[in-house]
Each structure stands twice: as structure tokens, then as C-alpha cells.
């Protein structure tokens, strides 16, 4: 098996595919399962005026927070951005445009975009601000609002394991938005914790087939962040 998809580091993996004004998808939920190494390489590239599609916007100094700090993002398409002070400042100052999107609509927009579906109808958001200016259609006596599919110039995803063909496996809730985003990027770049030879992952366990993944960078032992460290005492019975 060739190594045509394997890049030496995150900078090399992004070489030649970043440009000002582009649309970027970034996987993760909160700080769980984010492609942090790739995000840091986007920062180093100084590409600007980015539209970023991501459920959240990182926190100050971590994840997409670093691209807000460097003012490389002009528009965010997200469902929830509450954890970020810098975000609030830029948003209130009018430096940052935000398209608030219900979480399930956002993930379905990405799924649809990757699957070649330009639009779909959902009952989420009917009768709310989210439906304003959008087509509403009645099916079987119930109103649904039309939402567009979303694609990106480049999708950045985090996976637990990949083989050299780009087949991906995720771990626990770090899966979140990563599988759909992998399908919706014209070019998808995956940072992976474990890189194995083709044939080493049971084909029945592959979550994202390699056809969706163009570039892979191996990032062993990444630092993982916990936003809300909640525990219970040892003596307590569950």
C-alpha cells in the first residue's frame, strides 16, 4: 500500500490547500475530538477571512480559540459558543459574524452536504428565528423548514486510528461531528492518534471509509483537554 495520503506533519498536510476567504470545517464537540494540531497549523499559516463550520468555537487559547485570537475567522457557523470570552468580545464588536444553527440541523446539513443532498426539510426551528427567510412546507399536516446542505473547501477531523488507506476509527464521544465532516470536505485532512498498516483494522469496524480522506497526519499521544472535570467520591454507589 502506498503512502500517498500520509504527510510528515500538520504543516505539510495543509500545504497548498489553504487560501484567504475559504470555508473550513473543524470536528469536535467542545474540546473533545478536535483536530488541535491541524488548527494550530492553520494559525501558523496566517490564512485569514475564514468561514468556520464547527459546533463550538473552542475556549480561550485552545482549539478554534487560537484562530479567534489571531482574528483569522470572519464567520462562524455553530450551535453553541458559550465557553469563549474572546468570542463574545469580537461578536459584540461586530468583528465576527455568527450563524447560530440548531445542533441537529447543523450535523444534518453537513451529512447532507457530504451525501450530495443540497437541501432537506426539518421540523426543528419551525416558528422561531431560525426559520425566518426560509421556505416552510407542510407535509402530512405538519410544518417543516428547508435547510441547505453544507460543504467545505477543507475539512479538518480528528480520529483515534487510521490505516494508510485513510479508513478511520473514532473513540467514544470524540466521534461527534468528525465522521460527517470527513464526507463534506472537498479535501479532508485527518489527524490521527494511531496510524496502522492497511488490513490491521477489521473492515467491519471502520466508521469512515478512506474514500473521504485525502490527507493524513499521525499525531501520537496528543494532549487532550477536559472542559468540565466532574467526578464522584469513591465511597458513593452509582
Amino acid at each position: 500500500m502506498s503512502d500517498r495520503k500520509i504527510y510528515a506533519d500538520a504543516t505539510a498536510a495543509l500545504d497548498g490547500i489553504l487560501k484567504d476567504g475559504m470555508t473550513l470545517m473543524s470536528g469536535g464537540f467542545g474540546l473533545c475530538g478536535i483536530p488541535e494540531t491541524l488548527i494550530n497549523a492553520v494559525k501558523a499559516s496566517s490564512v485569514k477571512d475564514l468561514t468556520v463550520i464547527s459546533n463550538n468555537a473552542g475556549v480561550d487559547g485552545v482549539g478554534l480559540g487560537v484562530l479567534l485570537e489571531s482574528k483569522q475567522i470572519s464567520t462562524m457557523i455553530s450551535s453553541y459558543v458559550g465557553e469563549n470570552k474572546l468570542f463574545a468580545q469580537q461578536f459584540l464588536a461586530g468583528d465576527l459574524k455568527v450563524v447560530f444553527t440548531p445542533q441537529g440541523t447543523l450535523s444534518e446539513q453537513i451529512r447532507a452536504g457530504g451525501a450530495g443532498i443540497p437541501a432537506f426539510y426539518t421540523k426543528t426551528g419551525v416558528g422561531t428565528l431560525v426559520a425566518e427567510g426560509k421556505e416552510v412546507k407542510n407535509f402530512d399536516g405538519e410544518d417543516y423548514v428547508m435547510e441547505r446542505g453544507l460543504t467545505a473547501d477543507v475539512a479538518l477531523v480528528h480520529a483515534y486510528m487510521a490505516d494508510r488507506e485513510g479508513n478511520l476509527v473514532f473513540r467514544k464521544t470524540a466521534r461527534n461531528f468528525n465522521p460527517m465532516m470527513a464526507t463534506a470536505g472537498k479535501i479532508t485532512v485527518a489527524e490521527v492518534e494511531h496510524l496502522v498498516d492497511s488490513g490491521e483494522i477489521d473492515p467491519d469496524h471502520i466508521i469512515v471509509p478512506g474514500v473521504y480522506v485525502q490527507r493524513i497526519v499521525h499525531v501520537p499521544n496528543p494532549v487532550k483537554h477536559i472542559e468540565q472535570r466532574t467526578t464522584r467520591p469513591r465511597h458513593q454507589v452509582a
Partner: protein, 213 residues
């Protein structure tokens, strides 16, 4: 006398049924998991992409790859499954989750719900709330009856809506209301909290409701 947060959670837990798949919001709704009746099988759904959510981990056993929708560290159970966020909301929107328990800023007498945005203040976003109230079979709101002395149960919500005619039941520190969904939804007072009188509820409520104690 009115119900405490714990008693409100306990009252909400009495709406659980054996075999239910349930999504709990942040705040008082989270406490409901402490009152699941013994022997009842309930699977908790976390909308980031997990079904069968376990309790918080023991100290030292936190896993950054295992969080709930509030970004808190949790644990897995023998029944746990993981899936993508799109699959998670297919489950929610498709009506496969039995019950959603969540907080609110305002509820109107027709079942309209507002809980995501105060114009002029920093907007954080709706997260999954709009999808949950649109798709889950039964929606229970658990909230304080008033905010700073002002009623939260209104004739019409004046904050931007999360969903239209979506609430099935409201549990406050003073009372429990149900919404009749046949035709124009009507709000119905079905239960008073310990030591709370009808007159006290009336004084603290702007919404019009039938009394069916």
C-alpha cells in the same frame, strides 16, 4: 412552602416509565437521574453522541474522550453505544427518544417555549434544544415558577422561541401543569406543591389555565 430543586427533580422522575430513552438538560433536569426508581430501566441519551450514559467517573478515571453534552466527564455502562452527532439527532428528530426534560426562561399557555436567547445580551446559541423540543415524544420543562418575582408562565412568550407549542408538562417549585394538545393547546393545573395554595399559584402566573386537581 414550595418544592426545592431536589423535590422538583423527584417529581419529574415520577414521569419516567420502564424502558424509556431519556435526554436530560443542564441544571435541575440533570438531578432527575438521582431519582430513577429502583428496578426501572432507563437509558440516558447525551446528544453529542452517546446512549446509555453512566455516572461521573471516580477521581483519576476521567477520560477526555468521554463527555456528555454539558462537556462534563461521564462513564460508560454495559448498555452504552456511541454514534455520530448526525445519528444522535436522527434519533431525537425521528421520535425515538421518549422524554426530554429541560429548563426554560419562559413558557406560554399554548406550550410555546423560550430558553435560548435574551435580545441585547450575549447570545451563546441554542445547542440541541430546538431539535429536542421539535422531535422528542414528550417534553417536560422543570423551572422556577417566577424569576425575580416576575411570572415565567405567560400568555405569550416575549423572548425568541425555542419551539412552538412543544411543551407537554411544566413542573415548577409551586405546581405542575399539563398541556392539552388536541386543537388549540390549553394549559391545565394538575397538582400543587406541598403547602402551596391555588391563590398563590394564580398570583404568580400570568398564563390562563384550567384547574384540574
Amino acid at each position: 412552602m414550595a418544592w426545592t430543586r431536589e423535590q422538583m427533580a423527584q417529581r419529574a422522575a415520577s414521569e419516567l416509565e420502564d424502558g424509556f430513552y431519556v435526554n436530560l438538560g443542564i441544571g435541575i433536569p440533570t438531578l432527575v437521574s438521582n431519582y430513577i426508581p429502583e428496578g426501572m430501566e432507563i437509558q440516558l441519551q447525551s446528544e453529542n453522541g452517546m446512549l446509555g450514559m453512566g455516572p461521573f467517573p471516580f477521581e483519576g478515571e476521567e477520560d477526555a474522550d468521554l463527555i456528555n453534552a454539558g462537556k462534563q466527564t461521564v462513564t460508560e455502562l454495559p448498555t452504552t453505544s456511541y454514534f455520530s452527532n448526525a445519528d444522535s439527532f436522527a434519533m431525537i428528530r425521528g421520535g425515538h427518544i421518549n422524554l426530554s426534560i429541560l429548563g426554560a426562561m419562559q413558557v406560554a399557555q399554548n406550550g410555546d417555549l423560550a430558553n435560548w436567547m435574551i435580545p441585547g445580551k450575549m447570545v451563546k446559541g441554542m445547542g440541541g434544544a430546538m431539535d429536542l423540543v421539535a422531535g422528542v415524544k414528550k417534553v417536560i420543562v422543570v423551572m422556577e415558577h417566577t424569576a425575580k418575582g416576575e411570572p415565567k408562565l405567560l400568555k405569550t412568550c416575549n423572548l425568541p422561541l425555542t419551539g412552538k407549542e412543544v411543551v407537554d408538562m411544566v413542573i415548577t417549585d409551586m405546581a405542575v401543569f399539563e398541556f392539552e394538545k388536541n386543537g388549540t393547546p390549553r394549559m391545565k393545573l394538575i397538582e400543587l406543591a406541598d403547602g402551596v395554595t391555588l391563590d398563590e399559584v394564580k398570583a404568580a402566573t400570568e398564563a390562563e389555565y384550567d384547574v384540574a386537581l
